[in-house]
Protein backbone atom coordinates (compact mmCIF):
# COMPACT_ATOMS: atom_id res chain seq x y z
CA UNK A 1 0.00 0.00 0.00
CA UNK A 2 1.38 3.38 -0.91
CA UNK A 3 0.74 6.45 1.19
CA UNK A 4 0.20 9.94 -0.11
CA UNK A 5 2.91 12.53 0.61
CA UNK A 6 1.31 15.49 -1.14
CA UNK A 7 -2.39 16.06 -1.75
CA UNK A 8 -3.56 19.10 -3.74
CA UNK A 9 -7.27 19.79 -4.23
CA UNK A 10 -8.77 22.66 -6.18
CA UNK A 11 -5.91 25.12 -5.49
CA UNK A 12 -6.52 28.59 -6.93
CA UNK A 13 -4.23 31.60 -6.89
CA UNK A 14 -4.40 35.01 -8.54
CA UNK A 15 -1.99 37.92 -8.60
CA UNK A 16 -4.31 40.91 -8.81
CA UNK A 17 -6.23 40.34 -12.09
CA UNK A 18 -4.01 37.56 -13.32
CA UNK A 19 -5.40 34.13 -12.50
CA UNK A 20 -2.38 31.84 -12.29
CA UNK A 21 -3.85 28.65 -10.83
CA UNK A 22 -7.48 27.79 -11.66
CA UNK A 23 -8.21 24.70 -9.59
CA UNK A 24 -5.22 22.39 -9.51
CA UNK A 25 -5.61 18.80 -8.30
CA UNK A 26 -2.95 16.13 -7.97
CA UNK A 27 -1.49 13.63 -5.53
CA UNK A 28 2.06 12.44 -5.04
CA UNK A 29 2.77 9.00 -3.57
CA UNK A 30 5.41 8.76 -0.83
CA UNK A 31 8.87 7.99 -2.12
CA UNK A 32 8.09 8.76 -5.74
CA UNK A 33 9.38 11.37 -8.15
CA UNK A 34 6.62 13.58 -9.49
CA UNK A 35 7.26 16.05 -12.28
CA UNK A 36 5.17 19.14 -12.82
CA UNK A 37 5.71 19.94 -16.45
CA UNK A 38 4.79 23.23 -18.03
CA UNK A 39 6.02 26.14 -20.09
CA UNK A 40 7.23 29.41 -18.59
CA UNK A 41 4.46 31.19 -16.74
CA UNK A 42 2.29 28.07 -16.41
CA UNK A 43 2.17 28.48 -12.62
CA UNK A 44 4.67 25.78 -11.61
CA UNK A 45 6.64 28.02 -9.25
CA UNK A 46 3.45 29.42 -7.73
CA UNK A 47 2.28 25.87 -7.00
CA UNK A 48 5.60 24.97 -5.35
CA UNK A 49 5.58 28.15 -3.28
CA UNK A 50 2.11 27.35 -1.97
CA UNK A 51 3.24 23.84 -0.99
CA UNK A 52 6.39 25.24 0.65
CA UNK A 53 4.24 27.66 2.73
CA UNK A 54 5.74 30.73 1.04
CA UNK A 55 2.44 31.78 -0.54
CA UNK A 56 -1.15 31.38 0.56
CA UNK A 57 -3.65 29.97 -1.91
CA UNK A 58 -6.88 31.88 -2.59
CA UNK A 59 -8.93 28.69 -2.67
CA UNK A 60 -8.66 24.93 -2.37
CA UNK A 61 -6.66 22.75 -0.02
CA UNK A 62 -3.18 21.31 0.01
CA UNK A 63 -1.50 19.00 2.49
CA UNK A 64 2.06 17.74 2.79
CA UNK A 65 2.67 14.62 4.89
CA UNK A 66 -0.89 15.05 6.14
CA UNK A 67 -0.37 18.63 7.37
CA UNK A 68 -2.43 21.44 5.90
CA UNK A 69 -0.13 24.03 4.29
CA UNK A 70 -2.28 26.94 5.43
CA UNK A 71 -3.10 26.00 9.02
CA UNK A 72 -0.21 23.71 10.00
CA UNK A 73 2.59 25.51 8.19
CA UNK A 74 5.18 24.91 10.92
CA UNK A 75 4.68 21.12 10.75
CA UNK A 76 4.84 21.34 6.95
CA UNK A 77 8.15 23.23 7.16
CA UNK A 78 9.51 20.50 9.42
CA UNK A 79 8.74 17.89 6.74
CA UNK A 80 9.96 19.67 3.63
CA UNK A 81 12.89 21.30 1.96
CA UNK A 82 12.81 23.73 -0.93
CA UNK A 83 15.40 24.18 -3.65
CA UNK A 84 14.19 27.22 -5.50
CA UNK A 85 14.72 28.31 -9.07
CA UNK A 86 17.74 30.41 -8.14
CA UNK A 87 20.40 28.67 -6.09
CA UNK A 88 19.57 29.58 -2.49
CA UNK A 89 23.16 29.82 -1.30
CA UNK A 90 25.01 32.56 0.51
CA UNK A 91 27.70 33.86 -1.85
CA UNK A 92 29.79 35.47 0.87
CA UNK A 93 30.04 32.36 3.01
CA UNK A 94 32.09 29.27 2.15
CA UNK A 95 30.42 26.07 1.06
CA UNK A 96 30.93 24.53 4.48
CA UNK A 97 29.60 27.60 6.28
CA UNK A 98 26.46 27.46 4.16
CA UNK A 99 25.84 23.86 5.20
CA UNK A 100 26.61 24.59 8.86
CA UNK A 101 24.21 27.54 8.75
CA UNK A 102 21.32 25.38 7.57
CA UNK A 103 22.17 22.59 10.04
CA UNK A 104 22.11 25.10 12.90
CA UNK A 105 18.83 26.59 11.73
CA UNK A 106 17.37 23.09 11.70
CA UNK A 107 18.59 22.79 15.30
CA UNK A 108 20.69 19.68 14.64
CA UNK A 109 23.60 18.43 16.73
CA UNK A 110 27.11 18.32 15.22
CA UNK A 111 26.51 20.78 12.35
CA UNK A 112 30.21 20.65 11.40
CA UNK A 113 30.16 16.88 10.97
CA UNK A 114 26.93 17.00 8.94
CA UNK A 115 28.52 19.62 6.69
CA UNK A 116 31.67 17.56 6.13
CA UNK A 117 29.67 14.46 5.23
CA UNK A 118 27.58 16.34 2.69
CA UNK A 119 30.63 18.05 1.17
CA UNK A 120 32.14 14.60 0.64
CA UNK A 121 28.90 13.15 -0.73
CA UNK A 122 28.58 15.97 -3.29
CA UNK A 123 32.31 16.04 -4.23
CA UNK A 124 32.73 19.51 -2.76
CA UNK A 125 35.27 18.69 -0.02
CA UNK A 126 38.09 20.56 -1.77
CA UNK A 127 35.90 23.57 -2.45
CA UNK A 128 34.37 23.53 1.03
CA UNK A 129 36.57 26.28 2.41
CA UNK A 130 36.17 28.57 -0.61
CA UNK A 131 33.60 31.34 -0.90
CA UNK A 132 30.57 30.25 -2.89
CA UNK A 133 31.02 33.31 -5.13
CA UNK A 134 33.91 31.40 -6.76
CA UNK A 135 31.79 28.30 -7.53
CA UNK A 136 30.61 27.25 -11.00
CA UNK A 137 26.89 26.97 -11.71
CA UNK A 138 26.97 23.20 -11.28
CA UNK A 139 28.84 23.35 -7.95
CA UNK A 140 26.42 25.97 -6.71
CA UNK A 141 23.47 23.77 -7.59
CA UNK A 142 25.08 20.75 -5.91
CA UNK A 143 25.65 22.80 -2.76
CA UNK A 144 22.10 24.10 -2.98
CA UNK A 145 20.68 20.57 -3.12
CA UNK A 146 23.06 19.43 -0.36
CA UNK A 147 21.68 22.22 1.84
CA UNK A 148 18.18 20.94 1.13
CA UNK A 149 19.06 17.43 2.33
CA UNK A 150 20.11 18.55 5.81
CA UNK A 151 17.79 17.15 8.44
CA UNK A 152 16.52 14.41 6.10
CA UNK A 153 13.26 16.07 5.04
CA UNK A 154 10.58 13.63 3.90
CA UNK A 155 9.58 15.75 0.91
CA UNK A 156 11.86 17.80 -1.33
CA UNK A 157 10.68 20.42 -3.81
CA UNK A 158 13.02 21.12 -6.69
CA UNK A 159 11.90 24.10 -8.74
CA UNK A 160 13.54 23.88 -12.18
CA UNK A 161 16.66 22.26 -10.74
CA UNK A 162 18.59 22.13 -14.02
CA UNK A 163 17.65 25.42 -15.66
CA UNK A 164 20.84 27.22 -16.67
CA UNK A 165 23.13 24.25 -16.06
CA UNK A 166 25.50 22.79 -18.62
CA UNK A 167 24.85 19.20 -19.82
CA UNK A 168 27.33 17.59 -17.42
CA UNK A 169 25.96 19.40 -14.38
CA UNK A 170 22.48 18.48 -15.52
CA UNK A 171 23.36 14.78 -15.52
CA UNK A 172 24.83 15.15 -12.04
CA UNK A 173 21.62 16.68 -10.74
CA UNK A 174 19.60 13.91 -12.37
CA UNK A 175 21.72 11.31 -10.60
CA UNK A 176 21.24 13.10 -7.26
CA UNK A 177 17.48 13.15 -7.74
CA UNK A 178 17.41 9.43 -8.54
CA UNK A 179 19.48 8.69 -5.43
CA UNK A 180 17.05 10.72 -3.34
CA UNK A 181 14.11 8.66 -4.50
CA UNK A 182 16.04 5.46 -3.83
CA UNK A 183 16.41 6.58 -0.19
CA UNK A 184 12.64 6.95 0.03
CA UNK A 185 12.44 10.73 -0.19
CA UNK A 186 9.45 12.11 -2.06
CA UNK A 187 10.55 14.50 -4.80
CA UNK A 188 8.33 17.03 -6.53
CA UNK A 189 10.22 18.69 -9.34
CA UNK A 190 9.10 21.27 -11.82
CA UNK A 191 10.64 21.46 -15.23
CA UNK A 192 10.11 22.84 -18.68
CA UNK A 193 12.35 20.18 -20.21
CA UNK A 194 10.39 17.22 -21.52
CA UNK A 195 13.39 14.88 -21.47
CA UNK A 196 14.00 15.69 -17.82
CA UNK A 197 10.50 14.60 -16.85
CA UNK A 198 10.87 11.53 -19.06
CA UNK A 199 14.20 10.55 -17.47
CA UNK A 200 13.30 11.06 -13.85
CA UNK A 201 9.65 11.03 -13.04
CA UNK A 202 7.45 8.16 -11.91
CA UNK A 203 4.45 10.32 -12.71
CA UNK A 204 4.16 13.42 -14.83
CA UNK A 205 1.49 16.11 -14.63
CA UNK A 206 1.19 18.76 -17.30
CA UNK A 207 0.24 22.17 -15.95
CA UNK A 208 -1.18 24.44 -18.60
CA UNK A 209 -2.96 27.77 -18.13
CA UNK A 210 -3.51 27.12 -14.44
CA UNK A 211 -4.92 23.60 -14.72
CA UNK A 212 -3.56 20.06 -14.80
CA UNK A 213 -4.46 18.91 -18.30
CA UNK A 214 -2.82 15.49 -18.10
CA UNK A 215 -1.52 13.34 -15.26
CA UNK A 216 -0.07 9.86 -15.43
CA UNK A 217 2.98 7.69 -15.90
CA UNK A 218 4.94 8.14 -19.09
CA UNK A 219 3.30 4.99 -20.51
CA UNK A 220 -0.16 6.32 -19.71
CA UNK A 221 0.61 9.68 -21.29
CA UNK A 222 1.93 7.95 -24.41
CA UNK A 223 -1.39 6.17 -24.81
CA UNK A 224 -3.10 9.56 -25.11
CA UNK A 225 -1.59 9.91 -28.55
CA UNK A 226 -2.22 7.79 -31.64
CA UNK A 227 -0.25 4.51 -31.56
CA UNK A 228 3.36 4.70 -32.60
CA UNK A 229 4.08 4.01 -36.21
CA UNK A 230 7.28 2.38 -37.31
CA UNK A 231 9.67 4.53 -39.34
CA UNK A 232 13.25 3.90 -40.33
CA UNK A 233 15.50 6.80 -39.36
CA UNK A 234 19.26 6.96 -39.56
CA UNK A 235 20.62 7.25 -36.00
CA UNK A 236 22.73 10.38 -35.75
CA UNK A 237 24.46 11.29 -32.49
CA UNK A 238 22.81 14.29 -30.85
CA UNK A 239 24.90 17.38 -30.16
CA UNK A 240 24.68 16.46 -26.47
CA UNK A 241 26.21 13.01 -27.18
CA UNK A 242 28.99 14.68 -29.14
CA UNK A 243 29.61 17.30 -26.47
CA UNK A 244 29.80 14.74 -23.69
CA UNK A 245 32.08 12.47 -25.72
CA UNK A 246 34.42 15.40 -26.48
CA UNK A 247 34.72 16.61 -22.90
CA UNK A 248 35.30 13.04 -21.76
CA UNK A 249 32.43 12.44 -19.40
CA UNK A 250 33.59 9.23 -17.76
CA UNK A 251 30.36 7.92 -16.44
CA UNK A 252 30.02 9.55 -13.03
CA UNK A 253 26.45 9.91 -14.17
CA UNK A 254 24.30 7.54 -16.14
CA UNK A 255 24.65 7.87 -19.88
CA UNK A 256 21.84 9.64 -21.64
CA UNK A 257 19.31 7.22 -23.03
CA UNK A 258 19.06 6.91 -26.73
CA UNK A 259 16.22 9.15 -27.71
CA UNK A 260 16.08 8.68 -31.45
Amino acid sequence: MTTTAIRVQGIEKSYKDLQVLRGVDFEVASGSIFALLGSNGAGKTTMVKILATLLKADGGQAAVEGFDVATESLQVRQSISLTGQFAAVDEVLTGKENLVLVAKLRHLKNPGQIADELLAQFSLTDAGSRKVATYSGGMRRRLDIAMSLIGDPKVIFLDEPTTGLDPEARLEVWQIVKNLANRGTTVLLTTQYLDEAEQLADRIAVLHEGRIIANGTLQELKRLLPPAKVEYVEKQPSLEDIFLALVGNTGTSEPVKDRS
Partner: protein, 253 residues
Protein backbone atom coordinates in the same frame (compact mmCIF):
# COMPACT_ATOMS: atom_id res chain seq x y z
CA UNK B 1 6.57 33.45 19.49
CA UNK B 2 8.60 30.49 18.32
CA UNK B 3 10.75 28.84 20.97
CA UNK B 4 13.79 29.02 18.72
CA UNK B 5 13.66 32.81 18.32
CA UNK B 6 16.87 33.58 20.22
CA UNK B 7 18.84 30.62 18.87
CA UNK B 8 17.79 31.34 15.26
CA UNK B 9 18.43 35.07 15.58
CA UNK B 10 21.93 34.49 16.90
CA UNK B 11 22.74 32.00 14.10
CA UNK B 12 21.53 34.48 11.47
CA UNK B 13 23.31 37.36 13.23
CA UNK B 14 26.52 35.33 12.99
CA UNK B 15 25.88 34.98 9.27
CA UNK B 16 25.45 38.69 8.56
CA UNK B 17 28.37 39.61 10.84
CA UNK B 18 30.50 37.39 8.58
CA UNK B 19 29.22 39.46 5.66
CA UNK B 20 30.30 42.64 7.45
CA UNK B 21 33.76 41.42 8.34
CA UNK B 22 34.33 40.04 4.83
CA UNK B 23 33.45 43.36 3.26
CA UNK B 24 34.86 45.79 5.78
CA UNK B 25 34.47 48.46 3.09
CA UNK B 26 30.85 48.98 4.17
CA UNK B 27 32.03 50.08 7.60
CA UNK B 28 34.80 52.25 6.15
CA UNK B 29 32.51 53.96 3.61
CA UNK B 30 29.95 54.59 6.32
CA UNK B 31 32.64 56.35 8.33
CA UNK B 32 34.51 58.11 5.53
CA UNK B 33 31.89 60.61 4.28
CA UNK B 34 31.07 61.89 7.77
CA UNK B 35 34.81 62.19 8.50
CA UNK B 36 35.29 64.17 5.27
CA UNK B 37 32.41 66.44 6.28
CA UNK B 38 33.95 66.87 9.70
CA UNK B 39 37.31 67.87 8.17
CA UNK B 40 35.57 70.22 5.74
CA UNK B 41 33.51 71.97 8.38
CA UNK B 42 36.28 72.23 10.96
CA UNK B 43 39.16 73.30 8.72
CA UNK B 44 37.34 75.13 5.89
CA UNK B 45 34.07 76.61 7.15
CA UNK B 46 34.73 76.35 10.88
CA UNK B 47 36.70 79.59 11.13
CA UNK B 48 33.68 81.56 9.92
CA UNK B 49 31.05 79.76 12.01
CA UNK B 50 30.23 81.21 15.44
CA UNK B 51 28.82 78.62 17.84
CA UNK B 52 29.71 80.02 21.26
CA UNK B 53 32.02 77.07 21.82
CA UNK B 54 35.76 77.43 21.94
CA UNK B 55 36.10 74.08 20.12
CA UNK B 56 34.06 73.57 16.93
CA UNK B 57 34.83 69.82 16.77
CA UNK B 58 33.03 69.43 20.09
CA UNK B 59 30.03 71.22 18.63
CA UNK B 60 30.09 69.26 15.37
CA UNK B 61 30.66 65.66 16.47
CA UNK B 62 27.08 64.77 17.51
CA UNK B 63 25.64 65.87 14.15
CA UNK B 64 28.39 64.03 12.28
CA UNK B 65 27.54 60.84 14.17
CA UNK B 66 23.87 61.16 13.18
CA UNK B 67 24.86 61.60 9.51
CA UNK B 68 26.97 58.44 9.81
CA UNK B 69 24.02 56.50 11.22
CA UNK B 70 21.62 57.83 8.56
CA UNK B 71 23.96 56.68 5.79
CA UNK B 72 24.98 53.44 7.53
CA UNK B 73 21.45 52.06 7.77
CA UNK B 74 21.17 52.12 3.96
CA UNK B 75 23.42 49.04 3.93
CA UNK B 76 20.85 47.18 6.02
CA UNK B 77 18.21 47.86 3.37
CA UNK B 78 20.61 46.70 0.65
CA UNK B 79 21.58 43.53 2.54
CA UNK B 80 17.95 42.62 3.16
CA UNK B 81 17.03 43.36 -0.46
CA UNK B 82 19.91 41.21 -1.71
CA UNK B 83 18.77 38.30 0.49
CA UNK B 84 15.30 38.55 -0.98
CA UNK B 85 16.56 38.70 -4.57
CA UNK B 86 18.59 35.51 -4.17
CA UNK B 87 16.85 32.37 -3.07
CA UNK B 88 18.26 32.40 0.46
CA UNK B 89 15.33 34.38 1.90
CA UNK B 90 12.87 31.81 0.60
CA UNK B 91 15.03 29.00 1.90
CA UNK B 92 14.92 30.51 5.39
CA UNK B 93 11.17 31.07 5.13
CA UNK B 94 10.54 27.45 4.12
CA UNK B 95 12.48 26.15 7.13
CA UNK B 96 11.06 25.54 10.62
CA UNK B 97 12.66 28.67 12.12
CA UNK B 98 11.22 31.66 13.95
CA UNK B 99 10.38 33.83 10.94
CA UNK B 100 10.90 37.17 12.68
CA UNK B 101 14.49 36.20 13.48
CA UNK B 102 15.37 36.86 9.81
CA UNK B 103 14.59 40.57 10.30
CA UNK B 104 16.00 40.85 13.82
CA UNK B 105 19.34 39.46 12.67
CA UNK B 106 19.60 42.32 10.13
CA UNK B 107 18.55 44.87 12.76
CA UNK B 108 21.17 43.72 15.27
CA UNK B 109 23.81 43.65 12.52
CA UNK B 110 22.95 47.27 11.76
CA UNK B 111 23.51 48.21 15.42
CA UNK B 112 26.92 46.53 15.50
CA UNK B 113 28.08 47.90 12.11
CA UNK B 114 26.99 51.46 12.90
CA UNK B 115 28.58 51.19 16.34
CA UNK B 116 31.91 50.26 14.72
CA UNK B 117 31.67 53.20 12.28
CA UNK B 118 30.97 55.56 15.18
CA UNK B 119 34.00 54.30 17.08
CA UNK B 120 36.17 55.14 14.04
CA UNK B 121 34.60 58.61 13.76
CA UNK B 122 35.08 59.39 17.46
CA UNK B 123 38.71 58.27 17.11
CA UNK B 124 39.29 60.72 14.24
CA UNK B 125 37.48 63.47 16.17
CA UNK B 126 39.83 62.90 19.11
CA UNK B 127 42.79 63.35 16.76
CA UNK B 128 41.20 66.59 15.52
CA UNK B 129 40.96 67.96 19.04
CA UNK B 130 37.61 66.68 20.32
CA UNK B 131 37.69 66.81 24.11
CA UNK B 132 35.04 65.92 26.66
CA UNK B 133 34.89 65.63 30.40
CA UNK B 134 31.94 63.23 30.07
CA UNK B 135 32.06 60.40 32.61
CA UNK B 136 31.09 56.78 32.06
CA UNK B 137 27.40 57.43 32.73
CA UNK B 138 27.33 60.30 30.22
CA UNK B 139 28.99 58.08 27.61
CA UNK B 140 26.44 55.36 28.33
CA UNK B 141 23.64 57.88 27.89
CA UNK B 142 25.16 59.01 24.56
CA UNK B 143 25.55 55.40 23.42
CA UNK B 144 22.00 54.62 24.50
CA UNK B 145 20.40 57.50 22.61
CA UNK B 146 22.49 56.83 19.49
CA UNK B 147 21.55 53.14 19.66
CA UNK B 148 17.88 54.07 19.93
CA UNK B 149 18.22 56.44 16.94
CA UNK B 150 19.98 53.66 14.96
CA UNK B 151 17.25 51.20 15.90
CA UNK B 152 14.49 53.58 14.81
CA UNK B 153 16.15 54.38 11.46
CA UNK B 154 17.05 50.70 10.88
CA UNK B 155 13.38 49.73 11.00
CA UNK B 156 12.76 52.38 8.32
CA UNK B 157 15.56 50.73 6.35
CA UNK B 158 13.81 47.36 6.80
CA UNK B 159 10.66 48.80 5.22
CA UNK B 160 12.76 50.07 2.31
CA UNK B 161 14.58 46.75 1.95
CA UNK B 162 11.33 44.77 1.97
CA UNK B 163 9.42 46.95 -0.47
CA UNK B 164 12.13 48.20 -2.86
CA UNK B 165 12.03 47.16 -6.50
CA UNK B 166 15.76 47.65 -7.13
CA UNK B 167 19.02 47.85 -5.18
CA UNK B 168 19.20 51.58 -5.91
CA UNK B 169 15.75 52.06 -4.44
CA UNK B 170 16.70 50.04 -1.38
CA UNK B 171 19.72 52.24 -0.72
CA UNK B 172 18.37 55.57 -1.98
CA UNK B 173 15.70 56.19 0.65
CA UNK B 174 18.35 57.29 3.12
CA UNK B 175 19.33 60.52 1.27
CA UNK B 176 16.62 62.69 2.90
CA UNK B 177 17.63 61.23 6.28
CA UNK B 178 21.28 62.12 5.66
CA UNK B 179 20.19 65.66 4.79
CA UNK B 180 18.17 66.24 7.98
CA UNK B 181 21.18 67.05 10.21
CA UNK B 182 22.12 69.92 7.86
CA UNK B 183 18.84 71.69 8.68
CA UNK B 184 19.32 71.31 12.42
CA UNK B 185 21.53 72.58 15.19
CA UNK B 186 24.24 70.12 14.09
CA UNK B 187 26.43 72.58 12.15
CA UNK B 188 25.28 76.04 13.26
CA UNK B 189 23.00 77.25 16.06
CA UNK B 190 19.39 77.51 14.88
CA UNK B 191 19.13 81.16 16.06
CA UNK B 192 20.95 82.28 12.92
CA UNK B 193 18.36 80.78 10.52
CA UNK B 194 15.45 82.71 8.93
CA UNK B 195 11.92 82.18 10.40
CA UNK B 196 10.39 79.13 8.66
CA UNK B 197 13.73 77.30 8.37
CA UNK B 198 14.45 77.97 12.03
CA UNK B 199 10.99 76.67 12.96
CA UNK B 200 11.60 73.47 10.98
CA UNK B 201 15.11 73.05 12.37
CA UNK B 202 13.97 73.45 15.95
CA UNK B 203 11.06 71.06 15.61
CA UNK B 204 12.59 68.16 13.75
CA UNK B 205 13.96 65.10 15.57
CA UNK B 206 17.65 65.59 14.82
CA UNK B 207 17.98 68.90 16.71
CA UNK B 208 16.79 67.51 20.02
CA UNK B 209 19.14 64.52 19.69
CA UNK B 210 22.08 66.74 18.70
CA UNK B 211 21.41 69.13 21.60
CA UNK B 212 21.16 66.26 24.08
CA UNK B 213 24.44 64.69 22.95
CA UNK B 214 26.20 68.09 22.87
CA UNK B 215 25.02 68.76 26.43
CA UNK B 216 26.12 65.33 27.64
CA UNK B 217 29.59 65.78 26.12
CA UNK B 218 29.89 69.33 27.56
CA UNK B 219 28.64 68.25 31.00
CA UNK B 220 25.77 70.73 30.80
CA UNK B 221 22.34 69.84 32.23
CA UNK B 222 20.43 68.21 29.36
CA UNK B 223 17.10 69.90 30.07
CA UNK B 224 13.92 68.95 28.24
CA UNK B 225 15.69 68.07 24.99
CA UNK B 226 16.40 64.52 26.11
CA UNK B 227 12.69 63.78 26.55
CA UNK B 228 11.88 65.26 23.16
CA UNK B 229 14.71 63.22 21.65
CA UNK B 230 13.53 60.01 23.33
CA UNK B 231 9.94 60.67 22.28
CA UNK B 232 10.99 61.16 18.64
CA UNK B 233 13.16 58.02 18.60
CA UNK B 234 10.54 55.84 20.27
CA UNK B 235 7.77 57.29 18.11
CA UNK B 236 9.69 56.65 14.87
CA UNK B 237 10.65 53.21 16.13
CA UNK B 238 7.08 52.15 16.91
CA UNK B 239 5.62 53.46 13.63
CA UNK B 240 8.48 52.08 11.48
CA UNK B 241 8.29 48.71 13.27
CA UNK B 242 4.55 48.48 12.61
CA UNK B 243 4.98 49.29 8.90
CA UNK B 244 7.97 46.95 8.58
CA UNK B 245 6.03 44.08 10.17
CA UNK B 246 3.10 44.72 7.83
CA UNK B 247 5.44 44.80 4.81
CA UNK B 248 7.05 41.56 6.01
CA UNK B 249 3.66 39.86 6.36
CA UNK B 250 2.86 40.84 2.77
CA UNK B 251 6.17 39.38 1.59
CA UNK B 252 5.87 36.06 3.39
CA UNK B 253 2.08 35.83 2.95
Amino acid sequence: MNTHFFADTSVLLGRSMRHIFRSVDTIITTAITPIALMLLFVYVFGGAIRTDTENYVNYLLPGIMLIAIASGIAYTAVRLFTDMQGGIFERFQSMPIARSSVLWAHVLTSLVANGLSLVIIVGVALLMGFRTSANVLDWLAVAGILALFTLALTWIAIIAGLSAKSVDGAGGFSYPLIFLPFISSAFVPTETMPGPVRWFAENQPVTSIVNTVQDLFAQRPVGGDIWVALAWCLGILVVAYAFATAAYKRQIA
